[in-house]
């Protein structure tokens, strides 16, 4: 189902691109800077995440820079606190556009801690 939705999104985006618009407009992140510079992030965020995953799960290293939970806290939509849900949501938007499957959020919370607690979606 989700794959299909992603496929449709990709199609729609492709259609939009063909009609003249370019890459999707993504939710604006919180803060000034990312954990690395934006170009590095665009290129290598999957490697950072994969590395961090083993560091945290197996070695118990917490509060690390490349934490997936950290990405969500900064990149969530300001209203609903999520990184998935529409073509402008940060992770989904770009992934649907790039047609890269993103299954991490089958398990990982796609919303900020605040949104889960029913409070304001994202800290300003």
């Amino acid at each position: 189902m989700r794959v299909m939705a992603a496929g449709l999104l990709a199609l729609a985006l492709a259609g939009a691109a063909w009609a003249g618009s370019r890459a999707p407009v993504l939710d604006a992140p919180r803060g000034e800077k990312c954990v690395e510079d934006a170009a590095t992030m665009r290129r290598s965020h999957m490697d950072f995440l994969r590395h961090q995953r083993d560091e945290t799960v197996h070695r118990g290293i917490r509060g690390a820079r490349h934490s997936l939970a950290g990405c969500v806290e900064c990149h969530a939509n300001a209203k609903d606190g999520a990184v998935l849900g529409s073509p402008s949501h940060f992770c989904q938007g770009c992934h649907a556009y790039a047609a890269v499957k993103l299954d991490c959020f089958e398990c990982h919370a796609s919303r900020t801690r605040a949104a889960q607690a029913g409070r304001q979606a994202r800290s300003p």
């Binding site: 799960v57 917490r62 690390a64 934490s67 806290e73 089958e106 398990c107 919370a109 304001q120 800290s123």
Partner: protein
């Protein structure tokens, strides 16, 4: 929404996110006195364990189970396919008729059978004795569940919703009590332990079995405790008193 509250949370969130770059400020160190600093790994000098005092555990009380469900976003179990991280077992001594009550969860064995049988190495024991499933390499074969002597593990049979940030969980993998690794790493106790104290029973003691001065080590030395299925010599991190 309390503005002060919000900014404090933002501060903490940002600190956590940047802790690898900038050293955590003193406030943070003070607040989580026993926590490992960011970037520091779990230590093999520590062996986390729990002591369940069955003489204090109240029959019918499910505070620990409820707290666990809330902490990890695990729905209350009602069907054979629902996940069970911790359960209350009511016991009756077959000879004396004495009744006892005790929670049973992953026993965090030093020699865990689940780790031995796991084909991919997804079941593993962290340096500090916590037995975990790496859900990134678990293929869902369920051999660990066949091997576990305590029915401590559950397979996620359905798609999940409403996960908590600290407890990702999803369909097709095996999961179990993780001794609240995320809380322990922050210097807190597992949710069940706090809930049991809050309910006034104080039947679960959590601590470092390797630290001779810890309450749990003192208790294990001074009173008779037992391990479940001690005959299997799995050397459990969870001990029981009064069985």
């Amino acid at each position: 929404m309390n503005p002060i509250d919000t900014s404090r949370r933002a501060f903490l969130g940002r600190t956590a996110a940047f802790a690898g770059v900038a050293l955590a400020p003193g406030v943070l160190l003070y607040e989580f006195a026993a926590a490992r600093e960011a970037g520091q790994e779990a230590s093999a000098a520590v062996r986390w364990g729990m002591l369940v005092d069955t003489t204090r555990c109240a029959s019918g009380c499910t505070a620990c189970v409820d707290a666990c469900n809330a902490e990890h976003g695990v729905p209350k179990a009602s069907r054979p396919t629902d996940a069970q991280w911790i359960r209350k077992v009511e016991l009756k001594d077959l000879r004396t008729g004495a009744v006892r009550s005790a929670p049973v969860m992953c026993q965090h064995c030093a020699e865990p059978p689940c780790v031995d049988v796991c084909p991919t190495g997804a079941s593993f024991k962290r340096a500090d004795g916590i037995v975990l499933v790496d859900r990134h390499t678990c293929i869902g074969c369920r051999y660990c569940m066949m091997a576990c002597p305590y029915k401590a593990r559950s397979f996620v049979h359905e798609p999940t919703t409403g996960q908590k940030t600290d407890t990702p969980r999803g369909k097709g993998c095996v999961e179990s009590c993780n001794l609240c690794a995320h809380r322990v790493d922050r210097g807190e106790k597992p949710a069940c332990v706090d809930a049991c104290s809050a309910a006034g029973h104080r039947a679960i003691v959590f601590g470092d079995l390797n630290d001779p001065s810890s309450e749990i080590a003192l208790r294990v030395r001074s009173v008779a405790t037992s391990q479940l299925r001690a005959d299997l010599r799995t050397d459990n991190g969870v001990r029981y008193q009064g069985l």
